[in-house]
Amino acid sequence: MTTSTVTQLAVVSTVTGNRATMTGQTIGSTGLGTLTIAAISAKACDLKVVGDIHGFLRFPFADPETFDGVLMPSELRTAQIKLTQGGAGATLALIADEVSSY
C-alpha cells in the first residue's frame, strides 16, 4: 500500500513571561516507505495559552456594591504609591477607578 499524507505537527517549546516559542514540522509521505520532513512555514494554527493576566494588578478599596472603604479626597491628600523597581524597560502605568458626583 502506498500513501499520500501531509501532516503538520507543532509544539510550544519554551515560554518566558508572556512569550511562547513554537517549533513545527510538516511531515509528508508520498509513497511506500518514503517520509519527508520540513520546517513548517506560514501554516494556519490555533494557539491556546492558560495563565495569569500579564503585567497588571488591580487593588479594589471599596465594596463593589456599597462603596464602603472608598478612599476619600481627605485621605488622598497625603496618599501615595511606592513601587520597587527591579528591571528596566517595562511600560508602567498607574490607573485609578474614581467616582464623581453630579
Binding site: 511562547a20 506560514a42 501554516k43 495569569d52 503585567g55 511600560t91 498607574l94
Partner: protein, 287 residues
C-alpha cells in the same frame, strides 16, 4: 430593573486615516449605563504576524466639557482592567491570517454594573461629552501586505442607555483614568502621589514588558498615606498576582496563527501554565 436599550451610535465606520485622534460627540441628553466600543483592523493581504491590535489603540477617552477626562486609558490596560475586574475579557479575535480581521471590544461602564440606577452617565449634565480614540496603525509598520490594510480601522460605538421615560437620577458616575506613565528603571523606589480630586474605588498598576517574567520589573507595591505611616496594602507582585487571578472565570486566550518554525508570539497572559498549538490542516490518502 429597567430594561436597557442598546443604541448604536456608529457601526463599523472605517476611518480614512491610519493614524488619528478620533472624536465623536455624544448626544446632548441621555442616561447611559455603559458604552461599548468595538475596534476592527484588517490584516495585510499576506499576513500580520505577531501584530497586537491593542498596541494600535494608544488611548480610549471619555472627555466631558472639553477637558474633563473621565476615562483615559490605553487599549492594553483597558483590555486587562476589564478582564481582571470582571473575570473575563471582552470579545476579541486575534488572527494573523491573510486579510483577516482582528477585532477587540472595550466597555466603559459608568455604574457598578449594567443597569445601575444610582451611578451612570447623564449627558444632560454636561455641555459636551466626547468619545476619543487615539489610534496609530503604523505601530505595526507602514501599511502593507504583511502589516495592515490601509483605511480599514473601523469603530463601533454602542450605548447601553435607560429608556427616555425611565431615566434615573444618578448620584454620580464611575470613571477610570490613567494618571501616571513611565518606563521602569533597573532599581530604586518610585513614589507617586495619588490623585485626590475624586474618591478612589480602586487602583491598578500596569508594568508590561514582553519576554520578561512577572514580578521582575516591579517587585513590591505599597499603597499608603502620611509618608506610609498608614499602609493600605503592601506586598510582593507575585503574591498579589496569585490572589487577584484566583477569581478569574476565564484564564485562557486563543490566537489564530500563521506559524513558521522557531517563531515566537507575545500573549496577554503570563505565568503560563499550559500552552498548546494545533495545526489546522492534515491530509491522509491511500493510493
Amino acid at each position: 430593573m429597567v430594561r436597557l436599550e442598546q443604541s448604536v451610535i456608529m457601526s463599523r465606520e472605517a476611518q480614512s486615516s491610519d493614524t488619528a485622534l478620533f472624536r465623536r460627540d455624544l448626544p446632548k441628553s441621555g442616561s447611559y449605563s455603559a458604552l461599548d466600543i468595538g475596534i476592527r483592523l484588517t490584516n495585510g493581504a499576506t499576513s500580520a504576524i505577531n501584530m497586537d491590535l491593542l498596541d494600535v489603540i494608544k488611548h480610549l477617552s471619555l472627555v466631558c466639557n472639553g477637558n474633563d477626562y473621565r476615562f483615559h486609558i490605553s487599549g492594553q490596560d483597558m483590555f486587562r482592567n476589564h478582564w481582571l475586574k470582571n473575570g473575563r475579557p471582552m470579545p476579541y479575535t486575534w488572527t494573523e491570517s491573510a486579510s483577516g480581521v482582528q477585532e477587540v471590544w472595550f466597555r466603559m461602564c459608568f455604574g457598578r454594573f449594567l443597569g445601575d440606577t444610582q451611578y451612570g452617565l447623564d449627558l444632560s449634565r454636561f455641555n459636551n461629552v466626547q468619545v476619543q480614540i487615539d489610534y496609530d496603525c503604523t505601530v505595526w509598520g507602514a501599511a502593507g501586505v504583511t502589516t495592515f490594510t490601509t483605511g480599514k480601522f473601523t469603530i463601533t460605538i454602542i450605548a447601553h442607555q435607560f429608556p427616555y421615560n425611565a431615566r434615573p437620577a444618578f448620584r454620580g458616575m464611575i470613571g477610570c483614568r490613567e494618571f501616571y506613565t513611565a518606563t521602569t528603571a533597573a532599581s530604586g523606589d518610585l513614589i507617586e502621589d495619588l490623585p485626590s480630586s475624586q474618591p478612589i474605588l480602586a487602583l491598578a498598576v500596569a508594568a508590561r514588558e514582553d519576554n520578561v517574567a512577572e514580578a521582575t520589573d516591579i517587585t513590591d507595591i505599597t499603597i499608603g498615606k502620611d509618608n506610609f505611616n498608614t499602609i493600605y496594602t503592601s506586598g510582593k507582585w507575585y503574591n498579589y498576582q496569585q490572589m487577584q487571578n484566583a477569581d478569574l472565570d476565564v484564564r485562557e486566550e486563543v490566537f489564530d496563527l500563521l506559524l513558521s518554525n522557531a517563531a515566537t508570539r507575545d500573549c496577554h497572559l503570563a505565568n503560563i501554565k499550559q500552552a498548546s498549538v494545533s495545526p489546522r490542516s492534515m491530509t491522509i490518502g491511500v493510493a
